[in-house]
């Protein structure tokens, strides 16, 4: 098949969840199909400043075509429109305007889709919340497959989404929770879909990794990813500081509890306070990331909004147990299905679960092992790609039927 993948920004150095998912899936699709990436010249998802050169290039087996962004995002205008529509006071026109302000605004990309989409058998769009998908999907009806990467946040409640979701001929979901979320918002029954998640290669042998210490105090709990209030990091830091205070004051305290460190590895979008039990590493390379995962006592995922936590899957790939935010349906669902993580909804539960994982090493190791079993069963590339291939075939049949129906007229 001749496939196009539309994504708001693209590159090996771009770390966002949707972008990484798109790149990995596209690379695997390219083993059997001709794959073209249609994207913008932007690298920064906040400003959408043009940084990559426009035009066609190659990245491995992928053909990449980049289009310039017409205007950078105005943070004030975006904040103002967000405030209006998130308060439930916006009209459908306001909601559409929200997608325009969210960007990236690339008329040339949309024009390309309009003029050339017929040359692709299928056009896959990643992340419904960006203008590239919201305004792109209606231009390639009968061919559009949407990978919504939807989270249970205020955007999913927009009225205009019912129309968008009814225009795709197929959906790739990351979790059953995401499917449920989109199904509730769609006008009418959903087009064929598949819940695929994302694929992982088996982790580097833990024996190899275990010889190299990661250079941080042990035992440590690990946070991997962008340090951002939207990722639940403010709450995590508050909980962790309180936990340290209570642990040091506890009578007959356990050494594992008292000496625990929190290691945060990732770029920071918020001030991170100094604390003797907190180590900030900034953005780390792949090797350091693997070593951290191999040596941590557990991974903590405090995010309230997720469509799939790739870092959680990575942790399980290393047999690492996890502690996740139970208010996020996706994370709790992943924890329940895998038997590989505990969850918390408030400080008391956070402290109780953390103490359990730190003081019951056998059970914690079992949770990690169960997480790995789950990854082996659900998230290896051959399985993930067979689900996507199956969906591509099924959506072809739906697309043809819809085309014939359109030709026949009302």
């Amino acid at each position: 098949m001749n496939l196009a993948c539309v994504i708001h920004r693209f590159g090996p150095d771009i770390a966002g969840g949707s972008e990484t998912h798109c790149r990995l899936v596209a690379e695997h699709l390219a083993e059997r199909h001709d794959v073209t990436i249609l994207t913008t010249c932007a690298c920064d998802h906040v400003t959408w400043r043009n940084e990559y050169p426009a035009g066609a290039s190659a990245m491995g087996r992928l053909r990449v075509i980049r289009f310039p962004v017409r205007r950078m995002r105005s943070l004030h205008r975006f904040a103002d429109i967000s405030e209006r529509v998130f308060a439930g006071r916006g009209s459908e026109a306001d909601e559409e305007q929200w997608f325009r302000e969210n960007g990236p605004d690339s008329p040339e990309l949309l024009q390309f889709l309009e003029q050339h989409s017929a040359s692709f058998d299928r056009v896959l769009f990643w992340a419904f919340r960006y203008a590239t998908s919201f305004f792109g999907v209606p231009l390639v009806e009968r061919r559009a497959i949407l990978v919504p990467t939807a989270e249970d946040d205020p955007v999913i409640r927009f009225e205009v989404l019912g129309r968008l979701f009814s225009r795709a001929v197929g959906f790739v979901f990351l979790t059953p929770e995401e499917q449920w979320l989109v199904e509730r918002r769609a006008d009418g029954p959903l087009a064929p879909f598949s819940v695929v998640g994302s694929g992982l290669e088996p982790a580097t042998s833990s024996e190899q990794l275990s010889r190299i210490r990661p250079g941080v105090p042990t035992p440590f709990i690990l946070y991997l990813g962008r340090i951002d209030p939207n990722k639940g990091c403010e709450t995590l830091l508050q909980y962790f500081r309180r936990y340290c205070v209570e642990s040091s004051g506890a009578m007959g305290g356990d050494a594992a509890r008292e000496n625990v460190h929190l290691v945060m590895a990732g770029p920071a979008n918020m001030p991170v306070p100094e604390h003797p039990n907190l180590t900030r590493l900034g953005l780390v390379d792949e090797g350091a990331r693997e070593r951290l995962l191999a040596h941590a006592s557990l991974l903590v995922v405090p995010s309230p909004y997720e469509s799939l936590s790739l870092v959680l899957l990575e942790a399980w790939n290393h047999q690492l147990p996890a502690l996740v935010n139970g208010r996020c349906r996706v994370l709790k669902g992943q924890a329940e299905r895998s038997n590989g993580a505990l969850w918390y909804r408030n400080y008391d539960e956070f402290a109780a679960c953390l103490t359990y994982l730190l003081t019951q090493p056998l059970e914690a190791a079992t949770l990690g092992r169960q997480g790995l079993d789950y990854v082996n069963q659900e998230y290896r590339w051959p399985k993930v790609m067979s689900r996507i291939e199956d969906l591509l075939q099924r959506s072809c049949r739906v697309g043809t039927k819809a085309f014939v129906r359109n030709l026949s007229g009302p």
């Binding site: 103002d80 405030e83 209006r84 505990l342 539960e349 090493p361 056998l362 059970e363 190791a365």
Partner: protein
């Protein structure tokens, strides 16, 4: 070597979480009582029932589809207005006034606007939670009234007095 132990027997996370949550609940009740919380909480069954109602409102209800806001109608009249709308009623000077507000006053006071906004958002979250709690209590009350009516027998199904009467608040 890695700092982790070898895995043991299978662990069922659902069961383990129930145990941890039960322990947390017991500890919280003890703490509340020690700090002078409601004496009714000395009865563990009452405490569990109260917590269950609050948890349902907190975790299970969709806070965007509640009855009270639907009955009140559009949020325009009663909801917190967190976004800023700049307007002027003057026909001639209006555009100039708006320009000054947008380009001079707003950027200069943006920090104050954003500081207030965060607190408005928190207040809005609290309001929604409170509405959800009230609705949950109303549902619980309706359920109990129905159960009482059923216990009184089919002939008395309609005879359960309204709450105001049964709690002694008789109309004059």
């Amino acid at each position: 070597m890695s700092d982790r132990a070898a895995p043991g027997d299978p662990v069922a996370v659902d069961r383990l979480m129930r145990e941890i949550e039960d322990q947390v609940r017991r500890d919280r009740r003890t703490r509340l009582l020690a700090r002078g919380g409601a004496p009714e909480y000395r009865d563990p069954a009452i405490y569990a029932a109260v917590e269950e109602v609050l948890r349902r409102a907190l975790d299970e209800r969709d806070h965007d589809t509640l009855l009270l806001p639907a009955m009140l109608g559009g949020e325009e009249e009663w909801g917190l207005r967190t976004h800023l709308e700049l307007a002027s009623h003057r026909t001639l000077l209006g555009p100039l006034i708006l320009f000054v507000k947008r380009r001079v006053l707003l950027p200069a006071t943006r920090w104050l606007y954003e500081y207030s906004l965060e607190n408005f958002r928190r207040q809005q979250r609290v309001n929604r939670l409170l509405v959800a709690f009230i609705e949950e209590l109303a549902i619980e009350n309706a359920r109990l009234r129905k159960a009482v009516a059923t216990l009184q027998g089919p002939g008395n199904a309609e005879s359960v007095p309204p709450v105001a009467e049964s709690s002694g608040q008789q109309a004059p």
